[in-house]
Structure formats: structure tokens, C-alpha cells
């Protein structure tokens, strides 16, 4: 694994979208230090900004001391493991298609926007529109998995089309807004109006029944087999969070958003 460590705080935004394990991980230290990064429209060698250590490995790349000034981290990543030590800026993992991205700190807005595959793990919290659409896109995330150990901002999983998002903490307003399909799990407290404008998909909540929009209708208490499959799948990714799903063996199910003819479901645990 090669580790890139920022020499000093960046004075400007830096396009880091090319720093991916499959693209640069196999290069030796010398070649990698000469790799050009674009700053203010000018090409500058990577070694000017980062110290490099470790052995070439095209499966894993670590970037230490990450700051929000590093733009486009993990953009359209397809394979390998990218470790980001620090707190990231906007749109990390945007359009990601495969591989795994681990963030040890926080991430700002639009984490995993428009992603189609792969796995993003965040130890900290994330900003607004995580798993949502890229600017101008019709749908949000279309595949893959987002595991967020902290909290999430507003409009989590906005227009989510496919995939799985788990937030261990609380969220801002309107999680799963305009959700098209897919699965969202919030283990903390969701913000107001969860699932507003929801068409299909599943939103699993442990709390927040009082914040439901009035356009959701109750269908009673059910034991749904797919939750066991979901739990077992999560156990392979994150056993700690999978244990929290045990409370969903029996769920109170609400369907909506009937205000827009939606057939999405909000499942409350512990009934």
C-alpha cells in the first residue's frame, strides 16, 4: 500500500479525482511523485503536495491528512480500496461504480452522489444529500452501499433509485425525500417529514413516528422475511450495525407518500 500524506495545508482547491488505487497504486514512488495534478489550470507534480511512502500496490491507496480542499476524491472509482484519513469535502465517491472507500473523519455534502456500486464507509458524519443525485440528475444513488457511523444532514437518500444506506446516528430534515426505490436504515432520530414524496423503496426507522407526513397510511404490524436477509447481508459488512436491526423482526408498516400515489414503505422497529 502506498500512503500519500499532505505536506502542508493546501492553499487552493486540488483536483484529486485521479488518486485511486487502480490508477496510481501500482506506480513506484518516483513515478507517482511526478504525476501531474491540476491546480488553477496548471499541471504540478504530486510530490510538491504530498510525501509518499510504502510499496506499490494497485489494490490499496491511503491518503492521509485529507482536507476539504481535495476535490473529487473517489470520483467514478471502479475497484480497489481507497483509505481517506481526515475529513473530506463535497461529492466524495460521486458516481462510484465499485471498490471500497473508507473515510476516517467526516464528509461534506453529496457523499456518494449518483454512485452505482461499491461501498463507502464513513466513521464520522456527513452533510446534506448523501446518496442523492448529481446536480441535474433525475435520480440519486443507483447501486452500492453507504455506511455512515455518525449523523447525516438534510435530504439523505434524496431520489434514491437503488442501493443501501445505513446511518447509525440522526439525520437532518426529509430523509428519503422523493425516494424512488432502494433501502435506507436510520438507527438514530430522523429529521422532520421522512419519506416525503417517496414513490417506492423501504425506509427503516427506530424512532420518529411522530414526524411522519400525514400522507402516509398505516398497514399494521408485520414480520417481513426480507429483513432477515438484510440483517445477514449487513452482518458481512458491519456486524455492529447489523445487531441493531434485530429490533426490526416485527415492524409497524406505513405506506406512502400517498400524496403522490407512492407505494414506498416506512418500517418502525420494535412492535
Amino acid at each position: 500500500m502506498i500512503t500519500l500524506r499532505l505536506r502542508a495545508p493546501l492553499p487552493c482547491l486540488l483536483d484529486a479525482s485521479g488518486l485511486q488505487p487502480s490508477l496510481v497504486g501500482g506506480m513506484d514512488i518516483t513515478a507517482l511523485s511526478q504525476l501531474k495534478l491540476h491546480v488553477h489550470g496548471k499541471a504540478r507534480p504530486l510530490g510538491e503536495f504530498f510525501t509518499l511512502s510504502g510499496k506499490p500496490d494497485n489494490t490499496t491507496l491511503c491518503i492521509a491528512g485529507v482536507t476539504p480542499a481535495l476535490q473529487g476524491l473517489g470520483k467514478e472509482m471502479r475497484e480497489g480500496l481507497l483509505l481517506l484519513e481526515g475529513s473530506c469535502g463535497d461529492a466524495v465517491g460521486a458516481g462510484m461504480r465499485g471498490g471500497e472507500l473508507r473515510i476516517t473523519g467526516d464528509a461534506r455534502h453529496r457523499l456518494g452522489a449518483g454512485m452505482r456500486g461499491g461501498l463507502i464507509r464513513v466513521k464520522g458524519s456527513v452533510g446534506d444529500f448523501a446518496g442523492g443525485p448529481l446536480p441535474g440528475a433525475v435520480s440519486g444513488m443507483r447501486g452500492g452501499t453507504l455506511l455512515i457511523s455518525g449523523h447525516a444532514g438534510a435530504r439523505l437518500a434524496d431520489r434514491l433509485r437503488r442501493g443501501l444506506i445505513l446511518v447509525a446516528g440522526d439525520t437532518g430534515p426529509a430523509p428519503a425525500s422523493q425516494m424512488i426505490a432502494g433501502t435506507v436504515i436510520i438507527l438514530g432520530t430522523p429529521g422532520d417529514s421522512p419519506g416525503s414524496g417517496m414513490r417506492r423503496g423501504s425506509l427503516l426507522l427506530k424512532a420518529g413516528a411522530d414526524a411522519l407526513p400525514p400522507t402516509f397510511v398505516p398497514t399494521g404490524v408485520h414480520e417481513l422475511s426480507f429483513i432477515t436477509l438484510l440483517t445477514r447481508h449487513l452482518e458481512t459488512l458491519d456486524p455492529r450495525h447489523a445487531r441493531a436491526l434485530r429490533g426490526f423482526r416485527s415492524v409497524r408498516r406505513w405506506v406512502g407518500d400517498r400524496g403522490c400515489g407512492g407505494q414506498g414503505e416506512i418500517l418502525f422497529a420494535g412492535h
Binding site: 437503488r162 442501493g163 443501501l164 426505490a181 433501502t183 417506492r200 423501504s202 408485520h222 414480520e223 417481513l224 422475511s225 426480507f226 432477515t228 436477509l229 438484510l230 445477514r232 447481508h233 458481512t236 407505494q263 414503505e265
Partner: protein
Amino acid sequence: MKIRGVLIEDTFAEAFPMKATRLVITAANATWAMHAAQALTGFATSVIACGCEAGIERTLKPAQTPDGRPGVSVLLFATSTKELTRQIQNRVGQCVLTAPTTACFAGLEEGDPLPLGKALRFFGDSYQISKKIGSKRYWRVPVMDGEFLCEDVTRMTKAIGGGNFLILAETQANALRASELAVAAMRKIPEVIMPFPGGVVRSGSKVGSRYKALPASTNDRYCPTLKQVVDSALPESVGAVLEIVIDGLSVEAINEATRVGITAACSLGREGGIVAITAGNYGGNLGPFHFKLRDIMAPRRRR
């Protein structure tokens, strides 16, 4: 070769290539999973008239099933992909979808995909829900007791149908007892089914008939009541013959099932009325798989 005085004839079972799939049926309890599995594998003794051959492979504990409920594993065999597809849809649609609390999953991880929930989901009349978990897609179909959960596709694999052996006994009771012991032992072997009722068939057949409409008819050479009438294959001491047909996912599985089955049948010995073990074949020219009884029953060398 003799085992406990029972002659193992120097012959072979002739078997044929088939297409197969494994389904896992689960339910709220083992009873309802078994109800569904028995219905699904009913009237599936022979491809001659049933469309497929099917049977229960084994019961599964909750820890062995995808949804953590008691389950039953079943195998279905057909002669073509098209027929297997049709049989899966008809049988799961009529026998599993209809049974209270059940769910249905693919039991093989590899092979060509065949539609399972992908076809049955339309029963949901647009209220069905697709759920992709990991790399697999499932369908949640609303039904009157909640939801029918069904995997999108099952997997088809190459398989073998028509492995067999015949138990030649002095009396019908002797043959039946030996068959029961054999089937009980063979049911512990994975990847095989014995598709006939109780795993045993009494109406062994030959190809063709004196009647134009019939593709198969009674195996007269093994009918004890015809011993002096036809060119009988039965010695004077044999009063009844029962056959055990084996379908399996691999040559090794059929070999093992044959071995434990014959061993169990021979446990009664010659003094228990078991005269000989033989096998059905067509001269070796029709089926590419030949299960030679004496090779299978040869003592295993210790490593």
C-alpha cells in the same frame, strides 16, 4: 461378487444427462415448509409423463436457510431448459406461493439463471416490491397472510437422471424391507433424490410396447409372474423385484447413493431373502453415464 451372500451382478445402470435446479423452501415452521415441498415434488416421478422428476433432498435447520426459518431443500430435474423453466414456474406458483408463510430461494449459487420470482412477481398485480440485497434480487409479493418472498432467479446445472439398481428378493416383503432400508440410507446423501413414491418403484419399464401409443411398458423380464412366459431374467428363487431410481447433480453423488443403498439392502443378507442386486440398462448405447455395480461396491482402499 457377493455381499452377505447377496449376488452383485456384473452389470451397470445406464443414466442420462438432465438439467436440474435446487430450491430452498422456508416457512414459519418445519411442518409448513414440508407441506409446500411435498406439494411441489408431487406427481414428479418420471419425465415420461410428469414433465420433471423432483424430490425432497433434505430438511434444513434455521441456520442453514437464507431467512433463518426452518426449510426444505428440493431438487428438480428435466430433460430441457425450457421444460425445467415451465415446471419451476408452475410448481412454485401453485404449491409454494399458495402455502401459508412460505418463501422460496435458489439453492445453487452457480449456473445459468432461470426465472423464479422474476416470473411469479406478476401475481402481485403491480403491488410487488423488488428488493436487491447484496448481489441478489428478491421479490416481495403481497398475499393474504403477509408477503411471499421469492428470489428473482434460480440456477440451473447439468445433472444426471436414471441411476438405478434393482433388488431381487424371495418375497415381496423381503424386497420391500430391503428397499426401505436402502432409501433410508440414501436420503442422507446430498445432491440426490429418489423421485418415486417412498423412493421405490415396482413398475420398472422397458422401451416400447406392443401398443403403438405407448412409449414404454412393463419390464416383463423382471416380472416374477411371467417367469415361464417370457425370456425371464429372474432365477427360480426370486419372487419380487423392486427398483430404486436415482437422480443426482453429479456422478460422485449417484455413486455414493448407489453404494450406501446397496450396502443397506444387502444388510439383510441372503438369509434375509435378498437374492441379488442388478441394474437397468439399454445395452449401454443410449445413456452416456454407466454406473457399474461391482466398481461402485468394490472395497475402498485405505489411504
